[in-house]
Symmetry: D2
Subunit: 340 residues, 4 copies
């Protein structure tokens, strides 16, 4: 026991204890290895992490290239946009009278509040932005890059979308239709029937091509959901077109869900092996913890111990500004999987 130990030291000591403490300590070491081993690192992000106050940690991971590609739920990007636009989430209580909150137009996310009026304003802002785009399908990768760009121009503020724009880190949002970003997009339709057309199937092609182009991949998953599966799916789809892929080399997940009900969110990384989502000899760890506790500690320790590794890292350079993305100067083929 050391009073006021630093994150690095805390996690180092936790390598010698048990249960989820040890797993969290192991997660740091596995992430270090990802960074040192020429991997494309995918970060999946589900659960109310942005509303919950972790968006600047994710922005940090993007800006400093602790990760190379973000896959997120729409809600996390929306709540990020909300704060980047200068709005707030408020400290509330999980036991408030919800009918009273509704009467005051306050939306509750467990112990956190937001103002419905500000959400409506965001939706309109997104609709207006969508109307500035061309009348053609956009993958979420292209759309979110443009959205990040516009947001940066308008606000100059740090956040997930703006960090990804500035660092040229691609974001995929496979379930964008199930979010307020989707709602904003839908509100463009009455004004232009062909506005807000999002090509989520195109995202599948691009994400698989990302793996085919650089088959050494790693997966960091926070909270399961669609991002977890989408990251694994990219690996499986790539394998379908190129049997040298072989699954992620490293994987870590911080989840609160459990395997025994059969859902994908809680599924084990062992199970992922049977599908070839994970290499047979991949180093992997599951941490059963709320990310609001685990992530600040993990990233703070990692930022210390992996400082040099990150400084020496030569991550893939992406070009994201157009229908066809490019990696290290070479564009992807249009609308098809890249053969090697």
């Amino acid at each position: 026991m050391a009073p006021d130990a630093a994150a690095d030291d805390l996690l180092e000591r936790m390598e010698r204890i048990s249960f989820q403490g040890r797993n969290l300590a192991t997660a740091r070491r596995i992430w270090e290895k990802m960074l040192g081993d020429d991997c494309t690192i995918f970060l999946g992000m589900a659960g109310a992490l942005s509303a919950g106050g972790l968006r600047l940690i994710v922005a940090y991971l993007i800006a400093h290239r602790y990760i190379d590609c973000l896959v997120s739920t729409g809600a996390n990007l929306y709540h990020d946009l909300h704060e980047t636009r200068g709005r707030h989430h408020y400290i509330g209580s999980p036991r408030e009278d919800d009918a009273a909150l509704q009467a005051e137009s306050i939306d509750r996310v467990y112990d956190t509040y937001a103002k419905e009026d500000e959400f409506c304003d965001n939706d309109e802002w997104i609709a207006a932005f969508a109307l500035t785009l061309e009348r053609r399908p956009y993958t979420t990768r292209e759309f979110l890059y443009k959205l990040g760009e516009y947001l940066w121009q308008q606000t100059g503020q740090e956040g997930i979308l703006t960090a990804a724009y500035r660092a040229n880190v691609p974001i995929f949002c496979p379930a964008i239709a199930d979010s307020s970003i989707g709602m904003g997009l839908s509100q463009a339709r009455p004004r232009a029937a062909s506005a807000g057309l999002i090509d989520v199937i195109g995202d599948i092609v691009e994400s698989a091509n990302l793996v085919i182009r650089h088959p050494r991949t790693a997966s960091v998953v926070l909270g399961g959901g669609t991002p977890k599966n989408f990251i694994n799916q990219a690996s499986v789809q790539a394998e379908f077109y190129d049997d040298r892929i072989g699954g992620h080399r490293y994987a870590l997940q911080i989840v609160t869900d459990v395997p025994h009900f059969g859902g994908a969110s809680g599924s084990s990384l062992e199970e992922a092996r049977s599908w070839g989502k994970l290499a047979t000899d991949a180093e992997q760890v599951t941490v059963h913890a709320d990310a609001t506790i685990a992530l600040p500690l993990l990233v703070s320790a990692l930022a210390e111990s992996a400082r040099d590794t990150v400084a020496g890292r030569k991550p893939l350079a992406f070009e994201l500004n157009g229908p066809t993305m490019a990696v290290n100067g070479r564009p992807f083929p249009s609308a098809r999987f890249e053969a090697r």
Copy 2:
């Protein structure tokens, strides 16, 4: 204690006990009320319920109009298609060696196995089907109707997709890109660059119009995930265009996730009230249970006690075969929210 009690009797007795047993008993009564109260009943379905063996229960609910609209993950529809096409899921073990399974091309979902070759065959089948469609955006509602039609024509077998086709029950799949149906669609692209274009934003417009057209709604949610939020989002989006909506009148959810980590899957129905997703005076219940235990018991009891109510029900009649859906003979407006 009665040996071999029937489902109806078991649940009736469970009304007088506590905890999740009582909640399950209450769920039956609330569903009965939905059926007797001229509501549009949405069913949300996440988690590996089709692979887990519950697809024919869901097909029964559709065919007999215990529900009016299904919102599902792609995986549940894909695993349904898999079995409707005559393939199987196999009884396995959660403790098998996953590297060995991979070597034999067996994919594991907790304690259940499937053959990867058969999955690859499904993907190709979906890609081939996608190529028969017009080169224009399809909402998932229209696409899945066509898919159900084709599947029925090819197989004549019962299942979720075929039951929904035959009963004209709409299916939305907001996260279709995060599933093997999406992967199948993506495999059409190399053969036709504009094939497999899915308009998930159009789904948002249609689902909100569904609520605007008939504002008395009810929500039955299995397992959280994107379906849970999409059903609530439809209500919120409808409210944005028509302030007489007022949220679901009844809601029940069977979930294994918990509220205190802040994610939407586990969020309480009280919280849903603050957002106006649920009417302030809505009757609601959350059952914390695995649907593989709770659903067979619940539906078996409901099919007994609600038999007459269902027989006397006059559910909405949908027309789903085209870009614009119609309710009771009146088509939705094209690409905009319906004003009342």
Copy 3:
């Protein structure tokens, strides 16, 4: 899907599905095998099952000798005594104002209420009973037999304690000091300094001797806690004195806790093997479910399908009325482990 299926039929169908539904179906088959295989069947009972409305199911299991020995928390026995004495638990809400409940002297167990005055009356009743006993240590086995006897004489009502008394089924309560039965006993002390002396270490000797006397054992655990460990400890302690024991031949547990936090309540039955608590080839299953849903369905189906097996069963005959218990007419040695 069959409307109003009976429990036996429901569980039979659930053998062919997945996840916890399949596990519950397997639990029925394993319990059948225990009953047919000359085992001493231990039932462990933790969690608020009596307050939650399951006490008459447990009484049924005792009376019909589906089990041979009960290990319980004190609370379950206390809440059983409360109802056997004609008091009630009330249907309440988990979201009531607890300060208001306190002001009205209502004690809450999640969604269930009880009157504090009636609890205080129970405590005094137990204290008065304790004063009628001899001034010597009693194992919980002997004490609870006497308590059941007195309760039956006073009330003539069915319940766990009275059923165990009438069927001569031993009850152990290793954590009796952590319950209102313990509180009641402590209230005898001011009136007689040596009253209420409970020899919980003697329970360890007796429970191990139970296993030594008849080494074929089986374990049914509801909810983990001290009963789960105490049942396993009996097996391990017996093994220490007689290396032919070999652990339980069958084991099933219905728990809501999970293994990955390291606690005994959620620990897996695989882990139990490493300790020798379970035979290496034991048939076992864990059902992750709330007992208020799982137990009524399970016992109702079992009472149907195991009817003949139970009728033909020749369970151990216990004599429990004294400091030394006897099995099939042969008393245990006093204060020592029986050598074989």
Copy 4:
């Protein structure tokens, strides 16, 4: 995001986020208030925390009087004794073949191993110690003080039992019969029929008297189980004899269990209010987290921010060496509750 932030700083930032991160930050502030407010602070400890590597943190809390009374499961004290005696717990895997472990006499606690031979040696050591005691009932409080004393004399090593002995901090172990300490005690019986007599009902009297003597109390609970309830029971029992008690003034619990299955381990602190276990206006927080992650961070931050408060604290002085304990020089009455 600050690389390598210290614990104090991490938790301070987490006060402004959401969910369990915020709750953990709040837990630190509530513990600070306990320390500054002349409270008797009870610590409850369940789950495999000693085997899991947290025993020296608990020893630190005892030695520096961050707490005043420990209530523990027997297993945590036993695994503490095991390490204090120079034995070890080993880093293992949760997926090892348990039959193979059994064959090598290795006992598994999730991902942690111990040698069965060493456990057997501990049991004998405890039995031998028990035979050195007088032939009369010992409360666990007295027995564990003597055990800590003997352990300190034999080993001179730091640990929970030895720290409590040296700091005169009482330990209660209400479920001692459900642990290997109990097994060790039972092994004294064959050698002396009246050895190992533990008076757990006497513990109830003493723990209530502790509250009556100094009614300002606070509760810190790790992991639920019997310690959680025993601490609350002391408050309720004290109230029965002295209606000025009023429940704990502060309460924090770090648990992984949930309220909605009705068990005491997961029960909410709101519910505790209805019983009067908690003062109506008590400050309280529940942290849903594995203690192996939460406790090192929490205690490290607390040891920094509460340094001065702890230095200025004047905790109760206990005398524990005898059948009757004393507080600040005044002994408790023998075998009865103290009237004020």
